[in-house]
Amino acid sequence: MHTARSLALLALPLAGILLAGCAATPADDGADAAFTLYSGRDEDLVQPLIDRFTAETGIVVDVRYGNTAEMGSLLLEEGEATPADVFLSQDAGALGALSAAGLFTTLPDEITGAVPAGYTSTDGSWVGLTGRARVVVYDGESLTADELPDTIDGYVTDEWRGRLGVAPSNASFQSFVTALRVLEGEDAAEGWVQALADNDPQIFESNIPVLTAVNDGALEAGLINHYYWFRQAAEVGPENMRAQLKFLQAGDAGSIVNVTGAGLLNGAADNAEALAFIEYLLSDAGQQYFVTETFEYPLVPGIPAPEGLPSLESLVNPQLDLADLASLSETQDLLARVGLI
């Protein structure tokens, strides 16, 4: 009797293995895909764009979704063995790391030339696609836009002690600090970061919890990327958003634009379909998709910014390489020195 029971118990996991095998056999993917895309941006956002691309060109794409951190580390770990042909990244740092590891092939000039300098790679190893402005998010019920300082320096004064939320370990905050170093010099940047650290900032792990805290009335203001606000507004309705955005004065380091981008892996150097996809992302249709769906800035000149946002030209276009890892590392040293990370 016991043996029968034991066998029954053993049979269950075996059935599981079979089930896993069946469930896990991709029915429609793989075989006829022209190339493989590793997407560091979520499926909800990217898949509709892929579907349009496939409908227009007939090119089928295999997509692997994950966070940029995961997909970036995955590509570094896979090296030349990667099945990926294209990498779509949430930020420039990951693209810089892959470029530094020599995993990207150089893109044709007509692709890299489509995006102005400052928003794309300096060596043609990847191309910028969309921009996300750094903004101040504030509680619209307790503050008005007029009460908020117009420059980043205004947020580290006594008046703001304990009231500002930041995510210092996050890549987008670190690009802002890098911009500060480039625009205002090392001493000024260190002064600002030190002042922030001494001002009892509210530390968060990433941008979105900062926005959520402001929107729930738990935080008065914080530094984030603009586009998160629009995605949350799309879910609950813009009129129900307690959090509001303030763009800082034109030219202030606090209004730097972070970029998302794409690169072509070495193994795909001759893959025309993969290249066609990157071209599509930079086409009017591709850029327009990001404008209407994510409220990000199109980086190709001539395509209007999302309605209600200041123009890209009015934001900082610093002469810095957002993917420069050496500079990033110095920024992190600075943040570590003042105790923010």
């Binding site: 016991h2 029971r5 034991s6 029954a8 118990l9 996991p13 599981g16 293995i17 089930l19 896993a20 095998g21 469930a23 896990a24 991709p26 493989t36 979520d42 499926e43 909800d44 295999d62 692997r64 979704y65 966070n67 940029t68 951190a69 995961e70 580390s73 995955l74 570094l76 770990e77 896979e78 063995a81 099945p83 740092g93 790391a97 370990s169 996050n170 670190q174 509210q202 530390i203 968060f204 792990e205 919890p209 959520t212 805290a213 729930d216 009335g217 738990a218 949350q232 799309a234 879910e235 609950v236 309705g237 129900n240 890892l325 990033l328 992190q332 040293d333 570590a336 020195r337 105790g339």
Partner: protein, 529 residues
């Protein structure tokens, strides 16, 4: 659960005195068993080897730099402090709940035990998120400690309840008649019997607390996992991540060694069922909050928070039912397969540790546990590294994914199976041997049926953890495969919890099924009343 009950209702056992319960302990462990256990430990050591390659190659100076930089050591202290606080809390709370439900006459004991298992089904980041919806200012050490305790306490409650049902209670009665108070009687008579189960559960809790990232990120309590995550997401520096992860392994080593010295030996007595004790209404009312706190804090309130968000969402997208069902199917499939493989890997280690001692045995068992303190992204990357180097043909296949789950979660099965196997009276095996059975046959006829419930507990714990796993799944799944956790991730990247709520609900429900089964399993044979 009837399966387990059947196996548990084995005939009463004539038991030898405590000291002779492990006659094999003094002998040398069988070579085959040791070899199998070493092989399983080698699988568990893959992440450690990977970290040594990635982190160790960067040189001593770099390691010192990384560890002394900024707030790294403070974060490490936070990790350790949180793990210690959560472990202590769950040991006390879990034991109290288990005792109340197993030994005192409370209304609906089965229902309460079931509720006590439910926090296992809630991913920790979801618990954190649900709380933040209702109490947005919640942050820091105290909420992280309490919430993490609430979601991990079943790791102690369930094995202790199972052990109590198998343990002999008349000793406690004896202690009471000899004039001890109820607490003192529990301490001298019952605690020694449930201690190994409680401590083994506490070990899982401690390692879980060390590895957790989702909840502490939500609660804004910076730990070492923040640093590891930032190394991947902001620095894109795998060496830095590896060095920080190795520090986490060192913390885990402290915990594992601590557990080994605290575990002690089980005094064996005849397992005899104990009638539950009646208690007064006042006592009952004062115990109710103790029993209810974890299900309320870890399940009810977070789900209420999620439901609130669902109501607030204006644009509810249509639920793609076939896609949801496909995700449920894939989740169940990989979870069952991972449970089977993890149990198979854990079995030789558990069997070795149950009956044998010595340095080699300790080393094998400890290695089995160490990787459990690592965040999923580290283990996932280590399996990318390993599979590309060893079995490139299987890269991004279900086989490697399931293997990764087994490596990640096998420690959840080792502890329970070890105590289950250790509880099988060696005298019974000897009887079978004297009746002419070969060692293997005796093992199959006696040990397997008696230890089966503990195998079931281990398998269910692995299955539940697999269902909730995200980072390793994202890294290793065959392109295009969705589990409930990845579907939930797809919708929570930007906190669109309105869209995510149905997936979160289904994930919790699916994971609750094995949790409920768990609450009914007994760990050892005993006489029915």
């Amino acid at each position: 659960m009837t399966l387990a009950l059947e196996a548990a209702a084995a005939p009463e056992v004539p038991v030898a005195p405590a000291t002779s319960a492990r006659p094999a302990a003094s002998g040398r462990p069988p070579v085959v068993l040791t070899a199998l256990a070493a092989l399983a430990a080698a699988a568990a050591a893959i992440p450690l080897v990977y970290l040594a390659v990635r982190g160790g190659g960067s040189g001593f100076e770099r390691i010192v730099d990384t560890l002394t930089r900024g707030r790294v050591l403070e974060y490490a202290a936070n990790s350790l402090g949180l793990a210690a606080a959560v472990t202590a809390t769950t040991l006390v709370l879990g034991t109290a709940v288990a005792f109340t439900l197993s030994r005192l006459r409370v209304p609906f004991p089965r229902l309460w035990l079931l509720a006590s298992a439910l926090p296992l089904a809630v991913p920790s980041f979801l618990a954190g998120y649900g709380w933040l919806v209702l109490a947005p200012s919640t942050q820091g050490f105290v909420p992280s400690w309490l919430l993490l305790s609430a979601v991990t306490v079943p790791y102690v409650t369930l094995p202790v309840a199972a052990a109590l049902r198998g343990a002999s209670g008349d000793l406690e009665g004896v202690a009471r008649t000899l004039g001890r108070g109820p607490l003192a009687a529990f301490w001298v008579a019952t605690w020694p019997q449930v201690r190994p189960a409680a401590i083994a559960g506490g070990l899982l809790v401690a390692l879980y607390a060390l590895s957790d990232f989702g909840l502490v990120a939500m609660m804004r309590f910076p730990t070492l996992t923040w640093g590891i995550n930032a190394a991947y997401s902001a620095s894109f520096d795998r060496a830095q991540a590896a060095i920080l992860a190795l520090l986490l392994v060192v913390l885990a080593l402290v915990v594992v060694v601590g557990e080994r010295s605290a575990r002690g030996r089980v005094p064996r007595a005849a397992p005899r069922a104990v009638a539950s004790r009646s208690i007064g209404r006042g006592m009952l009312l004062s115990l109710l909050p103790v029993v209810a706190v974890a299900p309320v804090v870890g399940v009810a309130i977070p789900l209420l928070g999620l439901a609130t968000r669902l109501v607030q969402a204006e644009t509810l997208r249509a639920l793609d039912v076939p896609r949801l069902l496909a995700a449920v199917g894939a989740t169940l499939g990989v979870a069952l397969a991972a449970a089977a493989l993890a149990v198979a890997l854990a079995l030789p280690i558990a069997a070795l540790a149950a009956r044998h001692r010595g340095r080699l045995v300790s080393a094998i068992e400890s290695v089995g546990f160490l990787g459990h303190a690592l965040p999923g992204i580290v283990v996932g990357l280590s399996l990318v590294f390993f599979s590309l180097a060893v079995v490139p043909a299987l890269y991004q296949s279900v086989a490697v994914l399931v293997f990764a789950y087994a490596v990640l979660f096998m420690p959840k099965a080792i502890g329970t199976m070890r105590s289950g196997l250790a509880d099988v009276p060696a005298s019974l095996v000897s009887v079978a041997r004297t009746l002419g059975d070969s060692p293997l046959r005796a093992w199959w006829r006696v040990t397997v049926p008696l230890a089966l419930p503990s195998v079931g507990i281990g398998a269910l714990l692995v299955a539940i953890a697999t269902m909730k796993e995200l980072p390793a799944t994202l890294l290793l799944r065959p392109t295009g495969i969705q589990t409930l956790a990845t579907e939930l991730w797809n919708r929570t990247v930007v906190f669109e919890f309105g869209a995510a709520a149905p997936y979160a609900a289904v994930l919790v429900i699916v994971a609750a099924v094995p949790a409920m089964v768990l609450s009914g399993i007994r760990s050892t044979a005993k006489e029915e009343l």
